[in-house]
């Protein structure tokens, strides 16, 4: 958070998301890479930016923004360490690296097949969760409108 | 059904599109520098100063009364009165404009200067291609550029010119009759004096009403 302007920060977030997509592409995960750009750059960052516009938060605040600039670094480090630890400890990693004959190609058909066959329950649960969140948002918006009347 | 209106609209525009190639007469525009529309007779663009005879400076009708300068709403006329006098169309000595400038960039073509002029000296021109590349020099038009012969006026506004000429002729006839009568009276009084030598003695002709222009 070294940038004062909120919109600049949002745009930089979009750039970093593109960078993440490039990492995916570098790892030969074409599908995930393009989906990352389509969803995160095309939709999520636009949503963030839109929310900033609607809340009139574009004016850069005066004075110091963060009171402990090092705390951010510590949190980021902690998050990275947790993720790295999980990845290293994960069973999938040992399976893949220990078994070179395993088919790990990220073919779109495989992804689709796995998603609607093997992992259909998590998919449905996630869908349900998102729908619930959507309905909740609508209800909150409705209440606000009533309050205005 | 939804979309039938769109289809109707598309058919209409397609008809226009194809029709414009089949029959060029349907095109509403005139390709201006090549083709020109005949201007309506009452077209007006920018004033000019009318002169009689061949010499523009000698025959200028303007007597520098400065009414137009005072009446001009955007104040675009600038007149400097002459020190000496010269005879006007009836032979009466009058002032003439030493300087008569109109600022083209300020003029709004309202024709008020024409309405108020008692001497039929300023009229509206139909010339509209007035743009220049010199913003500071060419937009302020001087006396020499503004002066145009009466024949030009007769050409561009025949009806108005006829009325104007008739008024001037009547004016002149009246002045001549009066001069003749004065000469006769003077001859009868036994003091023959030539008219030109003593302009002060001439009685001022009755004021002319504003020219009766068709509006």
């Amino acid at each position: 958070m070294s940038l004062r302007n909120l919109v600049h920060s949002a745009l930089c977030l979009a750039v970093s998301l593109v960078g993440l997509a490039l990492i995916y592409l570098g790892l030969d995960a074409e599908f995930i890479g393009w989906i990352q750009i389509l969803v995160y750059v095309g939709a999520v960052s636009i949503l963030i930016v839109f929310a900033i516009l609607l809340t009139r938060g574009t004016e850069a605040p005066a004075g110091r923004i963060t009171f402990a600039p090092w705390s951010g670094l510590i949190i980021a480090g902690a998050v990275f360490a947790t993720l790295a630890w999980t990845v290293i400890k994960s069973k999938a990693l040992t399976e893949i690296t220990g078994n070179p004959s395993l088919d790990v190609s990220f073919v779109v058909k495989n992804i689709g097949g796995k998603l609607v066959a093997e992992y259909v329950l998590p998919l449905q649960v996630m869908g349900l969760l998102l729908t619930a969140a959507l309905i909740g948002a609508v209800i909150i918006a409705l209440h606000e409108r009533k309050g205005l009347k | 059904m939804l979309g039938s209106g769109i289809l109707k609209g598309l058919a209409e525009t397609a008809k226009n599109f194809v029709g414009s190639y089949i029959d060029e007469s349907g095109l509403t525009t005139i390709e201006y520098p090549d083709e020109r529309q005949t201007l309506a007779e009452n077209t007006r663009q920018f004033p000019f100063l009318v002169f009689d005879g061949d010499d523009a400076m000698k025959g200028l009708r303007c007597v520098s009364c400065q009414i137009c300068e005072k009446e001009c709403p955007p104040q675009c006329i600038f007149i400097v009165k002459s020190k000496d006098k010269k005879p006007d169309h009836v032979g009466k000595p009058q002032f003439y404009p030493a300087t008569f400038d109109i600022d083209l960039s300020v003029c709004m073509s309202c024709q008020i200067c024409v309405e108020v002029c008692p001497f039929e000296a300023i009229k509206m021109d139909t010339e509209f291609e007035l743009s220049t590349s010199d913003r500071f020099g060419q937009l302020l038009l001087h006396k020499g550029q503004l002066a145009k012969p009466n024949s030009h006026f007769q050409e561009i506004h025949p009806t108005d010119a006829a009325v104007s000429d008739a008024a001037l002729a009547a004016d002149k006839a009246k002045a001549e009759a009066k001069a003749a009568a004065d000469a006769k009276a003077k001859a009868e009084a036994g003091i023959p004096r030539p008219l030109a030598s003593s302009p002060e003695a001439v009685t001022i002709p009755p004021a002319l009403g504003p020219p009766n222009l068709p509006m």
């Binding site: 389509l38 750059v41 095309g42 939709a43 516009l53 | 979309g3 769109i6 525009t13 095109l27 390709e31």
Partner: protein, 407 residues
């Protein structure tokens, strides 16, 4: 004929073969890039003139017909005056926009303001790389993710619109940008869903494969374009409407509504940056038209088998020309929508229609063994019925208004 069809491919291979081994991939890429960067902007230049002429004819006037070659009497006294029927217009416009002063508002966010036109233009040019403009003529054949790449590249345009609108520090720009983003997000869903039917039926995301899947022959002479199936026909029109909105073309040109917002999100752009936005918009239109052609109109395939001798790239560009002509025709016909009509249309008509179309496509897939006529009839009835039902609600809502006090 084979030679003419593949002339550009052979040309490229010939040039590349001359070079040392190490340089070959790089030069091959460069040639493809140059071709895209040259051909489509030239097409844009041609389109601007054709569009103005076409709109002029629709409105019963001749359109631009004067600008030809400049006559330089001092240099070439022997050169006659050439008008070229007004086709010098784009060069004159280009020179004008290059020499114009580039004005940046004092309050503007300079960096973002400067970057916005490039963020628009570069992804659009990238999107062209996956379009097969002829047999063996796709710059980039992404076997796994061609279509996805196209849409991912398109995603950046929204960001550019926002950047332009926000950085200008102008209320019209901001309003235009907000409208544009709302519109693009709303219409991206029907756009992607209608292309998804094709992906489902072709079983591939690669645009090259999708074109090849349409090369089947019906009735002995007609190529099996997707548009000749009920789901393809409906999908094509749904795609066309969504594409129109995505490219900000009339009747969906609310983001830059001249009469309301000056010029929308690029109000504060002048000179060459304005020209870049203009170029980006038209290239976006070409790209999305090209995608429509690839998905539904058989790409570079000829319509009839007896026309197969004509070069494939000719067919692609001919179809592209027809698509552009159709968009110009629409622009000359329809007035602009209101914002609420726009949103209602996207969410209450286009989205349900695309979902129904997906179901119809699935039905088509599973009734493979049926009599073709019966299959056709089933799909057509389903789609027409839902179109009628959904359209009825709209017609009831947007009846001609009666003004109680005015009339």
């Amino acid at each position: 004929m084979e030679q003419i069809d593949q002339i550009f491919v052979h040309l490229k291979h010939g040039v590349v073969a001359f070079l040392p081994e190490g340089l070959q991939p790089l030069v091959s890429i460069l040639i493809s890039v140059t071709a895209i960067v040259l051909v489509f902007p030239l097409l844009f230049a041609l389109t601007t003139v054709l569009e103005r002429k076409g709109l002029g004819r629709i409105q019963n006037r001749p359109g631009p017909n004067r600008v030809g070659l400049p006559r330089l009497p001092t240099l070439f006294p022997w050169l006659p005056k050439l008008r070229l029927a007004g086709f010098g217009q784009f060069a004159a416009d280009g020179i004008k926009s290059l020499t114009k002063e580039d004005i940046v508002p004092r309050e503007a966010d300079r960096v973002v303001h400067f970057l916005a036109p490039f963020v628009l233009l570069v992804p659009v040019l990238l999107a062209f790389s996956v379009l097969p403009v002829g047999r063996n003529m796709a710059a980039l054949d992404l076997r796994e993710t061609g279509l996805l790449f196209f849409f991912a590249a398109g995603a950046a345009t929204e960001l550019s619109v926002f950047m332009a609108g926000w950085s200008s520090h102008n209320k019209y720009s901001l309003l235009g940008a907000m409208r544009a983003i709302a519109q693009m997000i709303s219409y991206e869903i029907p756009l992607i869903l209608s292309s998804l039917t094709v992906v489902m039926m072709a079983g591939s995301l690669s645009l090259v494969t999708i074109v090849e899947r349409q090369s089947g022959v019906n009735f002995g002479f007609l190529h099996g374009w997707h548009v000749f199936t009920p789901w393809g026909f409906a999908g094509f029109w749904l795609f066309l409407i969504a594409a129109c909105a995505e490219a900000n073309r009339t009747p969906f040109d609310l983001p830059e509504a001249e009469s309301e917002l000056v010029a929308g999100y690029f109000t504060e752009y002048s000179g060459f940056k304005f020209a870049l936005f203009f170029l980006g918009e038209y290239l976006g239109l070409f790209a999305i038209s090209g995608l429509g052609i690839t998905l539904f109109l058989g790409g570079w395939l000829s319509p009839f088998t007896f026309l197969n001798w004509m070069p494939s790239w000719f067919w692609f560009f001919f179809k592209l020309f027809l698509m552009i002509a159709f968009f110009i025709w629409l622009r000359g016909t329809l007035p602009r929508l209101r914002l609420d009509q726009l949103m209602n249309f996207a969410w209450k008509f286009l989205l349900p229609m695309t979902l129904i179309n997906l179901v119809v496509a699935a039905l088509w897939h599973f009734t493979n063994s049926w009599n073709p006529a019966l299959r056709w009839l089933l799909g057509a009835i389903l789609l027409t019925f839902s179109y009628w039902i959904l359209g009825r609600g709209f017609e009831a809502k947007f009846r001609p208004r009666t003004y109680r006090y005015a009339s």
